[in-house]
């Protein structure tokens, strides 16, 4: 065939070749099908490790119990046992190594998240011991009267 007919073909092949060569340099290592197929599992393998290396903030009750055994024991015996320490005390992150103290949220708003009366029948919220925010000791911190670690006891 004549040259002018084949010309676009050579240009096209050249572009494809260029893309393949450029891809060798530009695509990061580890790219490939690592999951179940190309549609869902084509990714950079290093990304998995990146996510695994993300720092953990919330350490959990067992970690608190290592030092604060007394408080955890008291709390675990109360009706507030299912509430994680860090829900109110904030995430431990690397406490006590670098963060000496944690910022405790002792606001009325924190308690109201569960204990504000909304009146929802057939909802777990309706079954919660709750108060009418507008009538019950307006604006006062709950812990002035109720011990959050053992709410059935009055705090001193």
């Amino acid at each position: 065939m004549k040259w002018h007919v084949l010309h676009p073909l050579w240009v096209g092949l050249g572009v494809v070749g260029l893309i393949i060569v450029a891809g060798r340099f530009l695509v990061p290592d580890g790219f490939g099908v690592h999951g179940r197929n190309f549609t869902y599992g084509y990714y950079r393998l290093g990304s998995l490790q990146d996510w695994k290396d993300f720092p953990v903030k919330y350490q959990g009750r067992d970690s608190c119990a290592e030092c604060h055994e007394e408080n955890v024991r008291l709390n675990s015996a109360s009706v507030h046992a299912p509430v994680q320490c860090e829900n109110c005390h904030g995430p431990a992150v690397d406490h006590p190594d670098s963060a000496q103290t944690l910022h405790v949220d002792s606001s009325r708003e924190l308690c109201l998240r569960c204990h504000a009366q909304l009146g929802y029948p057939n909802s777990n919220r309706g079954a919660m011991p709750s108060i009418d925010d507008r009538r019950h000791k307006r604006g006062r911190e709950c812990r002035k009267c109720h011990d959050p670690h053992n709410p059935r006891e009055k705090s001193e």
């Binding site: 999951g35 599992g41 998995l48 829900n87 109201l112 998240r113 029948p121 909802s123 919220r125």
Partner: protein, 256 residues
């Protein structure tokens, strides 16, 4: 057009050779290699959400935002809690202020106060990424920056995502958002950094009521898996065919 026998044979042989050549690109795998290629993992994570137990305290949202460094005061969140109030006149009121980050402490929905006497039913539905088996968000990514791990977790490669937001539009659940700091798509990672260390996801750990739980569906002895496989569970937006892996107990027909 005429064709001699010699020419015909020549053409036939060269055409067959050209057609067979690409077949050499196929590889025959051993059984083990084939199993690895189809991601034959012993782990498949899933959520179990019990809407009967949720009280709308929003501690899961607070924990998620803190754990995953999602900007706390920006109107973006990896998961959210929706409140449904159905009044006696049949009207459905739905809201999720700041994703329910600060809990629900009054009956005001979009500035309208609802009298508890008029409420027929009201409940909370925690939502987020469903870690679908056929995630449409992964299919649309033009650069391979989002993917499904062998454990069924849908992740975003933060180094490779270019922020085109196709995936944000593709998710039928609205579970993805544009991260205001990193300028890329962001979503629930199932707390991949926690579950791979044997910890619970932050939202599951923060939930005081057992409304959020997580399971390994491939472990038949997992107590949460037993609930998913033996009790009546529902998924959101089943008709989209994405095979969501967040299973719900006590879902109402008003939930969409």
């Amino acid at each position: 057009m005429t064709c001699s026998r010699r020419d015909f044979l020549k053409e036939a042989v060269s055409t067959t050779a050209a057609a067979v050549l690409p077949l050499s690109a196929f590889v025959f795998l051993s059984t083990e290699e084939a199993k690895a290629a189809v991601a034959n993992s012993t782990v498949r994570y899933a959520f179990l959400i019990d809407t009967n137990k949720c009280v709308g305290c929003g501690m899961c949202i607070k924990a998620c935002k803190t754990e995953n460094e999602v900007p706390y005061d920006a109107p973006v969140t990896r998961m959210w809690v929706e409140r449904y109030i159905i009044t006696k006149d049949g009207e459905v009121h739905i809201d999720s202020p700041m994703g329910g980050r600060d809990g629900f402490t009054d009956n005001t929905v979009y500035g309208e106060e609802i009298d508890p006497k008029n409420i027929a039913k009201a409940f909370f539905v925690p939502k987020g990424c469903n870690h679908c088996d056929n995630p449409p968000c992964v299919q649309v990514c033009p650069v391979g920056a989002t993917y499904q791990t062998n454990e069924g977790v849908v992740l975003v490669d933060r180094d490779w995502c270019m922020g085109c937001a196709y995936c944000i539009m593709a998710c039928p659940f609205g579970a993805r958002f544009f991260h205001p700091v990193h300028k890329i798509a962001d979503k629930c990672t199932f707390c991949y950094h926690r579950i791979t260390k044997g910890l619970q996801p932050a939202c599951v750990q923060a939930c005081s009521f057992g409304a959020r739980r997580f399971a390994n569906l491939k472990d038949p002895d997992d107590p949460v898996t037993k609930i998913i496989t033996t009790e009546r569970v529902a998924v959101l937006k089943d008709l989209y065919g994405t095979k969501p892996h967040a299973f719900y107990l006590g879902l109402d027909h008003d939930v969409r």
